[in-house]
């Protein structure tokens, strides 16, 4: 029984990790290619979730909701990039932090204005809202397995995109020398808009996927945003591979930490104390992980250069 529970927790960690990857992929690309710290990335997560909830409500189809989360967040990304983000590329990190912090206020209050303060609910269709039996007598939620599958699929797609396609080559070139590639006739402005919108769209999709498990509410993006930053710092800024490894590492550490640390402390303390200390430390575990990584590898696991 303990073993099944452990596997279940591990799968939860993987599911959490793949979701974090969807968030982090955009963040790390935007950072790596444009050198922009985007705190408002969590807002696209929220916008995606709200878009999905609204369209699923109207059409009655969860899948149309999912697809529209991607599209709505992408459009929001394009508009934001053209109106605001574009002006920030040449500014320093401090300005970027402040401007995108301001964008969070604008997006969060804007959504609250439109949808009101109460959370919306996005219902998982009944055919997914079930459990499946896996080998070794493990029973696991179908929907969460779907999330893991989508995450891995998108990771694969992004890997192909960044390493095998023309767009990917241009992105990489932009990362290394933005002047040179604009001299070579690549429209760097459009390239940046595409990268930003892609990142926003992925964040929106992950917002919708998670919004169906939790609730769709204002401010849902910020906790995930901070985690996504932890992920890209651990993985190394600008690296998709780093984001993937970092996301799984953070997802699994967090989930297993909450499960295992109280058990571990039970060896030393009585039950109540062990639960208390264990869960307190578990809530900090990923930040401890990040601090350790940074202390030993100041530019992250797969970081190529220091920012």
């Amino acid at each position: 029984m303990e073993f099944q529970l452990l596997i279940e927790q591990l799968l939860n960690g993987l599911q959490f990790g793949t979701m974090l990857f969807l968030m982090s992929a955009g963040l790390t690309l935007v950072f790596g290619v444009m050198g922009l710290i985007n705190l408002a990335h969590g807002s696209f997560y929220m916008i995606g979730a709200f878009g999905a909830a609204l369209l699923a409500e109207i059409t009655g189809s969860f899948f149309i909701g999912l697809i529209s989360s991607f599209i709505v967040a992408m459009f929001a990304g394009v508009i934001t990039e053209i109106l605001v983000i574009r002006k920030l590329y040449k500014k320093d990190h401090l300005d970027q932090v402040l401007a995108t912090f301001a964008l969070i206020l604008i997006f969060s209050e804007g959504i609250r204005w439109i949808f009101g303060a109460y959370p919306l609910y996005l219902n998982i269709p009944s055919e997914l809202n079930a459990s499946v039996s896996l080998p070794l007598e493990i029973i696991y939620s179908k929907y969460r397995l779907l999330i893991i599958a989508i995450g891995i699929l998108i990771a694969f797609f992004l890997y192909i995109l960044t390493s095998k396609t023309l767009l990917g080559i241009r992105i990489k070139a932009g990362q290394n020398d933005r002047e040179m590639i604009s001299v070579l006739g690549v429209n760097i402005k459009t390239l940046y808009t595409i990268v930003f919108a892609l990142g926003a769209a992925l964040a929106g999709l992950s917002g919708a996927l998670i919004g169906a498990i939790q609730s769709v509410e204002v401010g849902m993006g910020e906790p995930v945003l901070i985690l996504a930053f932890v992920v890209i710092i651990i993985g190394g800024i600008g690296s998709i591979k780093g984001a993937f490894v970092g996301a799984l590492l953070v997802g699994v550490t967090d989930t297993l930490g909450r499960f295992l640390l109280p058990e571990l402390f039970k060896l030393f303390f009585d039950n109540a104390d062990a639960n208390l200390i264990g869960s307190s430390i578990a809530s900090m575990s990923i930040y401890i992980l990040m601090a350790i990584v940074l202390i030993f590898k100041p530019s992250g696991l797969f970081g190529e250069r220091s920012a």
Partner: protein, 330 residues
């Protein structure tokens, strides 16, 4: 247009007089509002020491603000309970004496700043921003999950902590206590900025290699400044806890860090009095917008955005005629 000195003087006089008038008019609300302004100004000046003068973008200064708040809250909590604080085999009594509480706050926030600074200063740029944020998040989540001191609900203080011969529960008295701390902070930071430490800090921001070549260790300069900055912000947090008679994890959150940062930028970095003006406008704006619309944060966001995109130098540079500007423009 006026000189910076004149404006600084006017700011101090203004802050000194308004609560005096509101006392005469019996308007406690304004006094409390101004106490908040002064406290946030102290936190801002603390942050500005490393942000403006040292070029270290700490996105986790709420950790010191919150620590100061919690040290204050916890000491008072134990004083009211008559339960000693146990740390391993040692036992401490709680206290409600502000003089002790301030000393403890300064000690604890300095130690925390030494710890965080030591590790964070190994990194630079965006990694520094993120690691300071990570440390703040650690304490934030710890404060939520540790139930002894209220966890997520926070900790209430039944009375403000005390100073001999003064009634701290009186809003005007409490304001002037904060005001005195503001003056002390200004004098201290001004002294530091003109001392060898401050000069080498400013030099380290410009060029670390050159600082090193004259035999000064820039890391050490930055670390010491980081500790002083943390201690000042911690003290502000302690005052904030007493002002509200309440501490909760909110003051450790990254939004709090962002808020302190915004008021520094709003007022103007690189200027000692910038954060004071920033805190003033931030709080007044919050009150004003909050009065006319429920969605005031929306408009606050717009204002900050415009400020960052188009008026980088902050409010102070609108108000003063700067001799440096003249020199550079001519």
């Amino acid at each position: 247009m006026m000189s910076e000195k004149k404006l600084n003087f006017l700011i101090l006089i203004f802050l000194f007089l308004v609560p005096l008038f509101s006392m005469l008019l019996n308007d406690i609300y304004i006094t409390t509002l101004f106490s908040k302004i002064v406290i946030l100004a102290i936190a801002g000046i603390g942050l500005n020491l490393i942000l403006g003068y040292g070029g270290m973008v700490s996105f986790g200064h709420a950790v010191f603000f919150g620590l100061g708040g919690y040290v204050t809250g916890i000491l008072a909590f134990h004083f009211n309970n008559y339960e000693p604080i146990q740390i391993l085999v040692f036992e401490f009594e709680g206290t409600n004496q502000l003089l002790f509480i301030w000393i403890f706050t300064l000690i604890f926030s300095s130690i925390l700043a030494l710890f965080i600074g030591y590790f964070s200063l190994r990194t630079t740029g965006v990694y520094f921003i993120m690691i300071t944020l990570a440390f703040a998040q650690m304490l934030y989540y710890f404060s939520i999950s540790w139930p002894t001191y209220g966890g997520e609900d926070g900790l209430s203080l039944s009375l403000r902590n005390q100073i001999p011969f003064l009634n701290t529960m009186d809003p005007t008295t409490f304001f002037y206590i904060c005001y005195v701390w503001l003056i002390i902070t200004i004098i201290l930071v001004k002294f530091i900025l003109n001392s060898p430490l401050g000069i080498s800090l400013k030099a380290s921001k410009e060029n670390e290699d050159r600082v090193r070549s004259v035999g000064i260790n820039p890391k050490k300069v930055k670390l010491i400044s980081f500790i002083i900055s943390g201690a000042i912000t911690g003290l502000a947090g302690s005052l904030y806890a007493d002002l509200n008679r309440f501490v909760s994890p909110t003051i450790l959150s990254w939004q709090m860090s962002g808020e302190i940062m915004i008021l520094v930028i709003l007022g103007g970095m690189f200027r000692l009095y910038g954060p004071i003006l920033g805190a003033f406008f931030y709080i007044i704006l919050e009150q004003f917008l909050g009065g006319i619309t429920e969605n005031w944060q929306f408009w606050l966001g717009f204002i900050i955005l415009l400020e960052v995109l188009y008026a980088k130098a902050g409010i102070m540079s609108f108000l003063i005629k700067d001799k440096y500007d003249e020199k550079t423009s001519s």
